[in-house]
């Protein structure tokens, strides 16, 4: 990544397309501070394109904070400060001049509690594209249908697109939020405990959805449900707090390895429920 690439890229300061082999997202020696409190300590890892990576660990170990590094949602907290390298497609996203809005279009996020806007289902999905300048009704119709289809929600809501986004069930609302993210055509989808507010059947539907989406998108999911991480992900990162209550990366590896033969005893203890 050199100055020429920066100059030749679009105005967002981000490369126009992914030219970096392998790593879609990368952390190197990253520390996250809230004021003087270090929440995340010295984390380095690589996330490959079109994979599902799960981040697990006990509560309060910095999983969500770490996830929010990738789309700079930590910026919303005034005291937050990041040290180290956070790369998306090989570009440091914290360097000055990066268009955060464009970044968040390409790195979308789904939250723990489904948060559809208080508008119709159609308007919810069309919200992002409309704000990005698409006005043509037919184009929007196509985008809405495609996104809802990708989110496995189209058949269930195609006859009630003008009903409020809040009128459907929790599991459907979460899929609506996923459709809303898909409508802006991101490359990465970050999911912060997307199923923790849902019932088991809704959870399984979303897990199936994730596997389908992984062929097109890179997915990073924070979950406190280990079985979910084992079911769904290709790679798993295990975080834990150290004595200073800073979250550190204990182990990061192929999911099947982590859950059958972890290298670190702390990982083994956590996974087998010997501590938690």
């Amino acid at each position: 990544m050199n100055i020429a690439d920066l100059v030749n890229s679009n105005s967002a300061g981000l490369p126009a397309s992914s030219t970096t082999p392998g790593g879609k997202l990368r952390l190197e020696g990253v520390n996250l501070y809230y004021g003087s409190f270090r929440a995340v300590k010295d984390i380095s890892l690589d996330i490959a394109t079109c994979s599902i990576t799960a981040i697990i660990g006990p509560s309060g170990c910095g999983k969500s904070s770490m996830l929010r590094l990738f789309n700079r949602m930590n910026d919303l907290i005034p005291s937050a400060r990041v040290e180290g390298l956070v790369e998306f497609d090989g570009v440091d996203i914290y360097q000055p001049g990066v268009d955060v809005v464009e970044l968040r279009k390409r790195v979308g996020m789904v939250f723990q509690k489904p948060n559809p806007f208080p508008m119709s289902i159609y308007d919810n999905v069309a919200f992002g594209p409309r704000r990005h300048g698409i006005r043509n009704r037919r184009a929007l119709d196509e985008i809405v249908e495609k996104s809802l289809g990708q989110a496995a929600l189209w058949d269930e809501v195609k006859d009630k697109l003008d009903q409020s986004g809040l009128s459907i069930s929790g599991g459907q609302q979460q899929r609506l939020c996923i459709a809303r993210v898909l409508a802006v055509e991101p490359e990465v989808i970050l999911m912060d405990e997307p199923c923790s507010a849902l019932d088991p059947i809704a959870t399984l539907k979303i897990e199936d959805l994730m596997r389908t989406l992984a062929s097109t998108y890179t997915i990073v999911i924070v979950t406190h449900n280990m079985q979910q991480a084992a079911r769904v992900s290709d790679m798993t990162a295990f975080l834990m707090v150290d004595e200073d209550r800073a979250g550190t990366l204990v182990e990061y590896g192929v999911t099947s390895e982590i859950f059958t033969n972890p290298k670190n005893q702390k990982t083994e203890d956590y996974i087998t429920g010997r501590f938690g």
Binding site: N71, R104, R131, C177
Partner: protein, 284 residues
């Protein structure tokens, strides 16, 4: 023992209930009595002519149309000036301002502004709008003055309504690459608008009843016709009421009550409007 416990608990519940109901009645009953008294005394003055004719014989006959129109113009003028400033300030204070001493100072100033007596606003208006800006004693000067007074309320209600919008909506919007301003414009403001509207209507309703400031700044008792431009003098219901109550000898009693009734009716109308807006927004 169990038996006496139950009995004493029951007694306590009953006593509390009685006290609370009495307190409520103490509040509600006087208002109802006042309204009934006003209707009883002023009903006879009300007529179509009363509402649509200008006053005659120094207000002892004829109608109060100019005062009604003047009051309506005042309310509109107040809100035209107070609402945009109030909403913008509310947006800034809840979305952009950092939590430092400057912001705290600003918020404290707003609280204090709300407590300033209305006559002081009147003098402020006289000095700044009438004289310094050379607008003269006029409708526009009065509107600006009342707007200045209404600012405290519009800023506060806007700020509260915007802060009340759950942060999940903002996060959901920002997280799909929508800019800060677009989020405010398309997600936060629509969601906050019932609250903002409520504040605006309340401000208007309060402006309808202000007497002291408008006396100082431009209200007149008898003006030739309806105000033709914002720079004209104007009539207003509160001032009209004040004058006919205290300064015109031989004023028929029912006219005084009639004017009061019209004024109260207007204020009541707007308060009911506020309640309806609140009710509708809670339904969705």
């Amino acid at each position: 023992m169990a038996g006496s416990n139950i009995k004493s608990r029951y007694l306590t519940q009953k006593t509390a209930m009685v006290l609370l109901v009495t307190a409520t009645l103490l509040v509600v009953v006087p208002i109802i009595l006042i309204i009934i008294y006003m209707i009883a005394n002023g009903y006879s003055a009300l007529s179509w002519d009363f509402l649509t004719q200008p006053p005659a014989q120094a207000g002892k006959a004829g109608g109060i149309l100019p005062a009604i129109i003047g009051t309506i113009y005042l309310m509109l003028g107040t809100i035209i000036f107070a609402l945009p400033v109030g909403v913008t300030a509310g947006i800034y204070l809840s979305e952009y301002a950092r939590n430092n001493w400057v912001t705290r100072l600003v918020n404290m100033a707003i609280i204090n502004l709300a407590g300033v007596p209305s006559i002081v606003f009147g003098l402020f208006g006289l000095g700044v709008f009438v004289m310094t800006l050379n607008l003269g004693m006029s409708l526009i000067a009065a509107s600006l003055t009342l707007a200045a007074q209404a600012l405290a309320m519009t800023i506060t209600t806007s700020r509260e309504a915007i802060t009340a919008v759950p942060k999940e909506y903002r996060e959901g919007s920002l997280a799909i690459g929508v800019s800060r301003w677009q989020t405010i414009r398309y997600v936060v403001l629509p969601q906050a608008s019932p609250g903002i509207l409520t504040g605006a209507i309340l401000a208007m309703s309060r402006a309808a009843g202000e007497t002291a400031p408008i006396i100082v700044v431009g209200a007149a008792f008898l003006v030739g016709g309806l105000p033709g431009s914002p720079f004209d003098r104007f009539m207003a219901l509160p001032y009209h009421l004040y004058t006919v109550s205290a300064h015109i000898p031989g004023m028929p009693a029912d006219i005084k009550w009639g004017v009061a009734l019209v004024l109260i009716a207007m204020v009541l109308f707007f308060n009911i409007l506020v309640t309806l807006v609140r009710f509708k927004s809670r339904k969705r």
